[in-house]
Point group: C2
Chain length 260, copies 2
């Protein structure tokens, strides 16, 4: 496909891309999100995603390579962008000059089975924490991720911090915490992490038949409505009474879920 030239930072497509990049609301309204970087875009195509539009600089196009070929043949529209447009689209310090718009993936029904292992994030606000937790979940081989309370899986920062794990891992966004955890509880034990010495120490939990483990918001922890559906679990802290960072807590909990 012959790329269409796109040279003005004021072009309506450029403006629309920036809105999708910066606003979760704009993403929801459009049903699309954006990606930056050759690797994330390739991750998306390799996992069955569709690029509704691909934006590349001449430098990136000339560099080419197998990944770029896959992007070019997979994209519905391709735009050859100027360096000023690339700077405008970019969310990073030094851009590779490769961007895409991607429709939200189809949501499948959440159908957990015995033996499966899920991390659930409840109203986690910081996209870096969401991305880092997804990266750990993928590296350690969890089945998938559940998101409650508006965790933003399509935030560019979360996608980048996840190193693409948020594109590759099965992810469910659950509108109803109680229904989702009730469905899970029919086949799996459901735990929620709390900073509370009286809760079950994580190393004593039995994860041999799989589990769902919920990690909560950075400031407020797991929400009461979520706690009602779960057994309280804790990472015992021997040090000062500070809490763990959400991504660090997730790493320890995920590790315990898979630790042989």
């Amino acid at each position: 496909m012959q790329p269409q030239p796109l040279e003005s930072r004021r072009n309506a497509r450029v403006q629309a891309f920036c809105r999708l990049r910066d606003s979760a609301g704009a993403r929801r309204d459009a049903g699309r999100f954006v990606l930056e970087g050759l690797r994330l875009c390739a991750d998306c195509v390799e996992t069955g995603g569709t690029l509704s539009a691909l934006y590349v600089t001449k430098t990136a196009l000339d560099k080419g390579g197998a990944r770029m070929d896959a992007l070019l043949s997979g994209a519905k529209e391709v735009f050859l962008i100027s360096d000023p447009v690339a700077e405008k689209l970019s969310d990073t310090v030094t851009t590779q000059g490769v961007f895409a718009e991607v429709p939200f993936p189809k949501t499948r029904p959440f159908a957990p089975a015995a033996g499966e292992r899920y991390l659930a994030l409840d109203a986690v606000q910081n996209p870096q924490n969401l991305g880092a937790a997804a990266r750990t979940a993928e590296a350690l081989g969890l089945t998938g991720i559940l998101l409650f309370g508006g965790c933003d899986r399509f935030s560019p920062k979360a996608l980048r911090a996840s190193m693409g794990a948020l594109l590759r891992l099965p992810v469910w966004e659950a509108a109803s915490v109680s229904e989702t955890l009730a469905a899970a509880a029919r086949v799996l034990p459901v735990f929620a992490a709390v900073p509370d010495k009286t809760a079950l120490p994580v190393q004593q939990a039995d994860f041999s038949g799989g589990a769902v483990v919920v990690v909560g918001n950075e400031a407020n922890g797991v929400r009461p409505e979520t706690l009602e559906c779960a057994r309280r679990l804790t990472v015992p802290m021997a040090g000062r009474a500070e809490s763990l960072n959400a991504a660090a807590a997730a790493a320890i909990l995920i590790w315990e879920m898979v630790r042989a």
Copy 2:
């Protein structure tokens, strides 16, 4: 002490503060670093640190409180800054209007003892990772932290991500990796984390007599010179062949060091 007014963003002290905030080199040259926020400044004073200068807005001063009293009585010089100066000094989106300059703490000799537990970071570049690892190390009760290869403990981002742990925990910056790890190895086992299936799985390591565990650079891992002084250890990854984020790896390793 009567605060001195400081209203111009072009004041030489303001410029100097910003250089200390933004440049590790400027910090080294001056032997000072900077803090932002009431809590971090209070953490510093409570752990025996000295504020060579304190900068506060009228709003912050009027708000007062026990922590502010401690800062005011502990600071060698106090400046009452205008809101524009506060914005200039700030590294955050919404500033509290409280800043300090602090001399580097005195370095004590590193004298490890049997039973102690240390995390060592080898050329970790990302200040968020350094800060998050320090926060986990403190929460889980490690003895202290060793820094090799230029990890920047006085970066404002690292200090903030550590939630003050980098001020409270004993931290050593080691010029010579081999000498430091040789000293440690006389009383403690020394391990280095690698993404390598042939290395010792971390859950099989014996941490009962204490240990030093080294986590390496985000892109390149532990440096060869450091690996030479340590036994190779790994967090087994069942998932796709992606590596863990440095802070997530540190969280799992620290947890295993203290796991009862």
